[in-house]
Amino acid sequence: MKKMAITITMLLILVCGSIYAQTPTAEDILKNADAVVNAPQDQEISLKMTLTDKGGNEKIREMKMYQKGDEMRLVRFLSPADQKGVSFLSLPDDVQYLYLPAFHKVRRIASHIKNDNFAGTDFSYDDMSASKYAEEYNATLLEKTDSLYILELIPKQGVEKSYSKLKMWVRQDNFYPVKLEFYDNNSFLWKLFESRNIKKNGKYWIASEAEMTDLKKQHSTKMIIEKIELDKGLSDDIFTKRNLKRVK
C-alpha cells in the first residue's frame, strides 16, 4: 500500500515535471519575460524616435538615454535643434525632474496621472516604466504556437491600470516578448506594441527596434536603437539634478 502511494507520488511528480518541462506556467513565462527585458545592469543608448500621425506626417527626435537598474533613467534630447538639451530624469518613487536649457532651469515635474502620454509619444508614463508585468497582472496561457506563447494578462485586484486586458506574445526560445496588445475598458484593442530585430548583445537579448501604435489616435512611435552599450557600470552621479543640467 505504502509502496503504491510512493509510486503514485513519484509518477505524479514525473508527469507534472515533464509537463513543466514542456510548458512552463503562464506566470513563469511572464516572470521570465520581465526578467529578460530587465536583464542588463545598466544601459547607455542612442535612440532615434519617429512619431507618425494619422496624416502620415513624421517627426523625428534623437535622444540619449542612460538607465541603471529599472528605476533610474536620464534622457537627453539631441534633436530637434530647438529642443536640444531638454533632459528628463526619473528616479525611484515617481520622482521626476525636467531641465529646460532655454531657461537653464530644473523643475520637478509631477504627474499623478499615469495614463498621460510622455512627450508626444504613444507611451504613457506607465508604459515607460520598467517592465513589471508579473507584479501587476495575472497571466493565463491562451495558446502555444510553434515558437510563441500567447498570454492573456488581466490586472491584479487593487492594481489600477488604464487597460482592461493585455495580450502578450512571448518567444519560446528566449522568453523575449515580441508583441503586446493593450485593450481599453470596453475591451477594444487600443494600443499595439511590437519589438523587432531581437538579437543577442553579449549575454543579453536586445530588441533594437520597437514600435507603439495608438489605434484610436492613429498615431505611432517607432524607436530605433542606434547605439547601445551595456553594463558599463554607470555611476549614480549621472542620475542627479546636478548632472541633469550639465548640458553642453
Partner: protein, 981 residues
C-alpha cells in the same frame, strides 16, 4: 382655350388615371422627405466663408460644439463629478466625437512648490469624495481663468461637458444619442442641452410636429370655407382634392430631388393649400354659374375652361413669378423654397385645369336650386356701395394716405432689425432657448468665434501677435474665454518662469512646448506641422447686430494692428535703435495693458504718463543691480546640495558674492567667461580639482541668476511706478496682476518684432528674414453675418426682380406702360406697409420674414389684375364711372375680399406653430393679404380716377358719360313705363 377644353374632355380617362398614378408615386416619395435644420446649408457651399469654416472644422476636429450643462447647488460634490465623468468617458468613446472637455477631463498646468505639473484637474479614475479635498479643488478651479466661466460657472453651480463633433458626423443622430445617454445617467442636477447639434434636434422636431399639427387645421379651415361658399359636396371635394394632389406633387418632387424641408420650406404645404385652392374654387364657381345659366354638363365645362382658363393661368403665372424671384437669392433655403412653391403653384393650376374638369365630366350635373337670393341688398352689398361712394368723394384723401404709407415704408426700410441666429427661432420659454440663455449668462455663450492663424506657431513673433489679438478679444463686450496655443505657452512660462508672456526666443517656446506635446488639447488648437493654428473664443450674445459689430471690430483690429510681415531685430546686434522703435514698443505694451485693464475692470487714469514711464524704462541706459536680492539668491545657490558650486563656509560664500557683485556692477555685459575667472580668484582649487568643468557649469547657473534678478528688479520697479495710474489697487486682482507682469516683461526683451512695412528702413537690403503671418476670422458669427448679408440682398433683389417681372407682365397685358405702373403701385404700397409694420413692431428680417415681400407681390397682384379687368370691362360697357366702380366692387371686389379672407385664415394657422420666424411670417402675410385687398379696392381706383388712366378706358369725359347715362336711365324708365302700360 376651347380646343384645350375639348382635349381635356377627350382624354379625360387618361388624365384621371395619369393623375392618380403620379399622385400615388409622389405620395411614396413623401415618406423619404427629410428635414434639414443645418444653418450652414442656408448658404451655398462654395461661399468662401463656408469653405473656410468647413476647412477649419476638418483641420481642428469639427465645428459643432454640443454642450451639456448640469446645475446643482455645488457641482464639486462626488455625485455630480461622477456623473460628469461618466458622461465624459462615454462621449470620448463615441467615434463621432473628436474631443471632450469637462471638469473631469481638462488640461491642467499647475505651479507647485519647486516644480510644476502638466496633467488634468481630476484623475478620471479617482474622483475624490472627501469634502476637504473637493473644497481645495473647487477653490483652485474657480481661481483659474481657464476654467472659470468656461467649463464651470463663476459660482460653481453649473458645470458643462463640451463635446466637439467630427466634421462628417451626423449631428442629429449623434446629438440624439448623446442626449439619450445623458438622460439615462443618474443624478438630481438640472440638465441643459445647448449648442448647434441640440438646436438642430429641437428644430427638426419642431418642424415635424408643426407640419403635423398645422396641416389638419389648414385643411379643416379650407373645408369650412369651401362649404360656406358652395354649400355643396362637389364644391368642397373637388377643390380640396385638387389642392391635396398638387401639394403632394410639389413635396414629392422635393423629396425626389433630395431637397430637405427647412425652416423656410416647412411652410410650403400650408402655402400651397392656401394659394392653390383658389384655382379649383374659380373653376367650380364658374361651372356652377354656367350650369345655372342652363348649360348642359359638357358645355358648361367647355365654357368654364375657355373663359376662366386664361385668368387662372395669369394668376398662377404671376404668383409663380413672385416665388421664382427667390432664385436670385444667395441663400439656398430661400431659393429652394421659391422654386418648389412656384412649381407647386404651377401644379395646382395644371391639376385644376385638367384633372378637375375631367372628374367633373363624370359627375352628374348638379340640380339647380331655386334662387334664394332676395333683392334685398346684403350687408356686403351695402358696404361695397358705401365704399364706392367714399372712393368717388375722397379719392384725393385716399391717395394721400396711400402715399403717406409709402413714405413711412421707405423710411422704415432702413430701420428694420435683422436676426439670423438659430436660437431666435425658438420661443422664449422653450427648453433650447432656456439652455442657450443660461449658457450666455453663465458660461459665455455657445457660439464659437474662430480665428485661423497661418504662420510658424513656434515663432515667438507669431505667438506674441496672437496674444495681442486675444487681449483685444477679451476686452470686447460679449466675447469670452479666448484660447489658443499662445495661452498655453504663456501659462507654461508662468509656471516655469513666473511671467505670463511668450518667451522671446524660439528655443524658449520650443522648450515649453515640450510639456504640451501629445496633449489632447493640441489637435484642437494647432495642426501637426505647427504652421496653422486656431484662436477660439465664445460669443455671448445671439443678437445679430451685436455679433456683427464684434466681427467687424475683430476684422478691423486684424487689418490695422496685426503685423502680417514681421521683422525681427536683435537689439544686442543693432545700433540703429531709433526713437521711433522705442515709441512703437512703448505703445505696443501700453495697448496690451489697456486691453487687460479694460477686461479686468481697471481704468488707466493717464495713458500718456503710462507710455512715458514705459518709454523711460525702455531707454534706460544703466542697469540697476538689486544687490540684496542677488546676494540672497547667490547664497541660496551655494547652499543647494544639487548646485554645481556647493560652498558651506559662509565666509567663503560672502567672498564669492562680493566678488561677483563687484564684477557685475563694473561690467554691464557680464559674461560666463568673466564669471569663471572671477570665481577662480576666490574659490580654492580644491573645490574643483576633481571636476574641471565645475566652474564652467557654475558660471552658467550664476549668470542665469544674475540676469533673472536684474530683469525682475526692473519689472518690479516699473510695476511700482505705474500702480498709481490705475483706478483700483492692482493687488486686488491677481489675474490682472499676472497679465500686467506679462505685458511689461517685454521691456527685457532683446529680440523685438516690428512691422516690416512700417520699419522698412531697418531692413533696406533685406538682410533680415521676415516672418509672415496671416489671420482670418471664421466661426459661426461670420456665417451668421454672411446669412444676414444674404438676407438683405435676397430681400432687395428678389423683391425688385418680382416687381419688375410683374410690371412687365402687366404692361404687356394692358398694352400700356402707365397701366403697368399704376397696377404695380398698390403692390408696392402693400410691401412697404409690411416693412412699416415690421419696423413698428420690431419684427426682425429673418429667413422667413424675408420672403413676405415677394410672396405679397405674387399673391397680391391677382387682386389688381382682377380689379383692373373688371373695371375695364365695366367702363367698356359705356357705363358711368360711378356705376362701373360700384359694379366692379360688388362683383370682383366681393371676390377679392372673400379670397383675401380665406388666404389670411390659412396663414394665420402658422401662429399655432412653434417656430418663431414662421409665426411672424404667418401673421405678417395674413396682414399683407388684407392690406393688399384694401389697396386694390381703394388706392387703385382712386389712382385710376385721378390719373384718368387711358388703359382702363375713357375716364375723362365724365360729363358726357353722365349725360349718356342719364339719357339711358330716362330711356329705361320710359320703356318701363311703356311696359307697364
Amino acid at each position: 382655350m376651347r380646343k384645350f377644353a375639348e382635349l381635356v374632355l377627350k382624354y379625360r380617362v387618361t388624365i384621371i388615371i395619369g393623375t392618380i398614378i403620379i399622385t400615388v408615386f409622389m405620395a411614396f416619395q413623401l415618406r423619404k422627405l427629410e428635414i434639414s435644420s443645418d444653418i450652414l446649408k442656408y448658404l451655398p457651399q462654395d461661399d468662401p466663408n463656408v469653405v473656410l469654416f468647413n476647412e477649419v472644422g476638418e483641420k481642428f476636429g469639427g465645428n459643432s460644439l454640443a454642450m451639456i450643462a448640469m446645475e446643482t447647488e455645488d457641482v464639486f460634490n462626488p455625485n455630480t463629478l461622477k456623473r460628469i465623468n461618466t458622461i465624459t468617458q462615454k462621449f470620448k468613446e463615441m467615434s463621432e466625437i473628436s474631443y471632450v472637455t469637462s471638469l473631469t477631463d481638462v488640461i491642467d498646468i499647475k505651479k507647485m512648490e519647486d516644480g510644476l505639473e502638466v496633467g488634468k484637474l481630476f484623475d478620471e479614475r479617482h474622483i475624490p469624495s472627501e469634502k476637504d479635498e473637493l473644497e481645495k479643488i473647487k477653490n483652485y478651479t474657480l481661481s483659474k481663468e481657464m476654467y472659470r466661466g468656461n467649463i464651470v460657472s463663476d459660482d460653481g453651480t453649473i458645470a458643462v461637458v463640451i463635446a466637439r463633433l467630427n466634421e462628417d458626423a451626423d449631428r442629429l443622430v449623434v446629438g440624439r444619442e448623446m442626449k439619450e445617454f445623458v438622460l439615462s445617467t443618474e443624478g438630481n442636477e438640472k440638465l441643459y442641452f445647448a449648442g448647434i447639434p441640440f438646436q438642430m434636434i429641437y428644430l427638426t422636431d419642431v418642424i415635424n410636429s408643426d407640419v403635423a399639427k398645422l396641416l389638419p387645421i389648414v385643411l379643416l379651415l379650407l373645408i369650412i370655407t369651401l362649404a360656406i361658399s358652395f354649400r355643396s359636396k362637389r364644391g368642397v371635394i373637388l377643390p380640396l382634392v385638387t389642392v391635396i394632389i398638387s401639394t403632394t406633387w410639389g413635396l414629392g418632387l422635393m423629396s425626389l430631388f433630395g431637397i430637405k424641408l427647412t425652416v423656410a420650406s416647412d411652410g410650403i404645404p400650408i402655402l400651397l393649400l392656401a394659394i392653390g385652392s383658389a384655382y379649383g374654387i374659380h373653376l367650380v364657381n364658374k361651372y356652377m354659374e354656367d350650369i345655372r345659366k342652363g348649360d348642359n354638363k359638357i358645355e358648361a365645362i367647355k365654357d368654364t375652361i375657355s373663359e376662366v382658363g386664361v385668368p387662372i393661368f395669369l394668376a398662377g403665372l404671376t404668383t409663380s413669378i413672385g416665388f421664382l424671384a427667390f432664385l436670385v437669392s444667395n441663400l439656398t433655403i430661400i431659393k429652394e423654397f421659391g422654386v418648389f412653391t412656384a412649381i407647386g403653384v404651377l401644379f395646382a393650376f395644371i391639376v385644376a385645369i385638367t384633372f378637375l374638369p375631367a372628374l367633373l365630366s363624370f359627375m352628374p350635373a348638379p340640380k339647380i336650386k331655386a334662387k334664394k337670393e332676395s333683392l334685398e341688398p346684403t350687408l356686403m352689398n351695402r358696404f361695397m356701395t358705401g365704399l364706392s361712394r367714399l372712393i368717388l368723394k375722397r379719392r384725393i384723401a385716399i391717395l394721400i394716405i396711400g402715399f403717406f404709407i409709402v413714405a413711412i415704408g421707405i423710411f422704415s426700410l432702413f430701420k428694420i432689425n435683422r436676426e439670423v441666429n438659430m436660437v431666435d427661432y425658438f420661443k422664449k420659454d422653450s427648453e433650447i432657448r432656456q439652455a442657450e440663455d443660461m449658457m450666455e449668462s453663465k458660461l459665455g455663450g455657445s457660439i464659437p468665434i474662430q480665428i485661423l492663424v497661418k504662420g510658424d506657431l513656434q515663432e515667438p513673433a507669431v505667438l506674441k501677435e496672437m496674444i495681442k489679438l486675444e487681449k483685444y478679444l477679451k476686452n470686447l463686450p460679449d466675447v469670452h474665454s479666448p484660447q489658443s496655443i499662445a495661452d498655453l505657452i504663456c501659462e507654461m512660462n508662468d509656471v516655469m518662469n513666473d511671467s505670463y508672456c511668450i518667451p522671446e526666443t524660439r528655443e524658449g517656446v520650443a522648450n515649453l512646448w515640450f510639456f504640451l506635446e501629445g496633449n489632447e488639447i493640441l489637435p484642437q488648437l494647432i495642426n501637426s506641422q505647427n504652421n496653422e493654428g486656431l484662436i477660439q473664443a465664445k460669443l455671448g450674445t445671439v443678437d445679430t447686430k451685436k455679433g456683427r459689430y464684434i466681427i467687424d471690430s475683430i476684422d478691423d483690429f486684424i487689418s490695422k494692428n496685426i503685423n502680417s510681415d514681421i521683422l525681427t531685430i536683435d537689439l544686442t546686434e543693432t545700433n540703429s535703435i531709433t526713437e521711433e522703435i522705442n515709441q512703437e514698443r512703448a505703445e505696443n505694451i501700453s495697448n496690451k495693458i489697456f486691453y487687460d485693464a479694460a477686461h479686468y475692470g481697471f481704468e488707466i487714469k493717464d495713458r500718456d504718463a503710462l507710455e512715458k514711464i514705459l518709454h523711460k524704462y525702455l531707454t534706460q541706459d544703466d542697469q540697476e543691480i538689486p544687490t540684496s536680492n542677488l546676494t540672497i539668491k547667490l547664497v541660496d545657490y551655494m547652499n543647494d546640495e544639487d548646485s554645481d558650486l556647493l560652498i558651506e563656509s559662509s565666509s567663503l560664500q560672502n567672498k564669492v558674492v562680493k566678488s561677483l557683485l563687484k564684477y557685475v556692477e563694473k561690467n554691464e555685459d557680464y559674461s560666463e567667461k568673466g564669471i569663471v575667472s572671477n570665481l577662480k580668484k576666490v574659490v580654492p582649487y580644491s573645490y574643483y580639482e576633481d571636476d574641471p568643468e565645475m566652474l564652467d557649469y557654475a558660471a552658467i547657473s550664476i549668470s542665469t541668476i544674475i540676469k533673472n534678478e536684474i530683469e525682475w528688479n526692473k519689472v518690479n520697479n516699473l510695476i511700482k511706478e505705474i500702480t498709481p495710474l490705475f483706478s483700483k489697487d492692482i493687488q486686488q486682482n491677481p489675474d490682472f496682476k499676472k497679465n500686467l507682469i506679462g505685458d511689461v516683461w517685454e521691456i527685457n526683451d532683446t529680440q523685438i518684432f516690428l512691422s516690416n512695412t512700417k520699419f522698412n528702413n531697418l531692413n533696406k537690403d533685406e538682410q533680415n528674414p521676415t516672418i509672415s503671418l496671416d489671420l482670418q476670422q471664421t466661426g459661426m458669427p461670420i456665417i451668421y453675418k454672411d446669412i444676414d448679408n444674404n438676407i438683405v440682398s435676397s430681400q432687395t433683389y428678389s423683391l425688385l426682380f418680382a416687381i419688375g417681372l410683374v410690371f412687365i407682365l402687366l404692361a404687356i397685358q394692358f398694352k400700356s406702360f402707365i397701366g403697368g405702373l399704376i397696377s404695380i403701385l398698390p403692390i408696392i404700397l402693400t410691401v412697404l406697409f409690411n416693412f412699416a409694420i415690421m419696423w413698428i413692431f420690431k419684427i426682425p428680417l429673418d429667413a422667413a420674414t424675408v420672403m413676405i415681400g415677394s410672396v405679397a407681390v405674387g399673391i397680391g397682384i391677382d387682386y389688381t389684375i382682377h380689379f383692373n379687368n373688371r373695371f375695364h370691362f365695366e367702363i367698356g360697357k359705356k357705363n358711368s364711372v360711378e356705376n362701373a366702380l360700384e359694379t366692379t366692387l360688388q362683383t370682383t371686389g366681393k371676390g377679392i375680399i372673400i379670397n383675401a379672407f380665406s388666404v389670411m385664415l390659412g396663414f394665420l394657422t402658422l401662429l399655432l406653430g412653434s417656430i418663431v420666424p414662421m409665426q411672424r411670417f404667418g401673421w405678417l402675410i395674413a396682414l399683407t393679404m388684407v392690406v393688399s385687398a384694401t389697396a386694390s379696392l381703394t388706392f387703385l381706383p382712386s389712382l385710376l380716377l385721378i390719373t384718368h388712366a387711358s388703359f382702363i378706358g375713357d375716364l375723362k369725359h365724365l360729363a358726357l358719360r353722365r349725360a349718356i347715362n342719364i339719357k339711358a336711365n330716362i330711356k329705361q324708365k320710359v320703356n318701363n313705363f311703356k311696359d307697364k302700360k
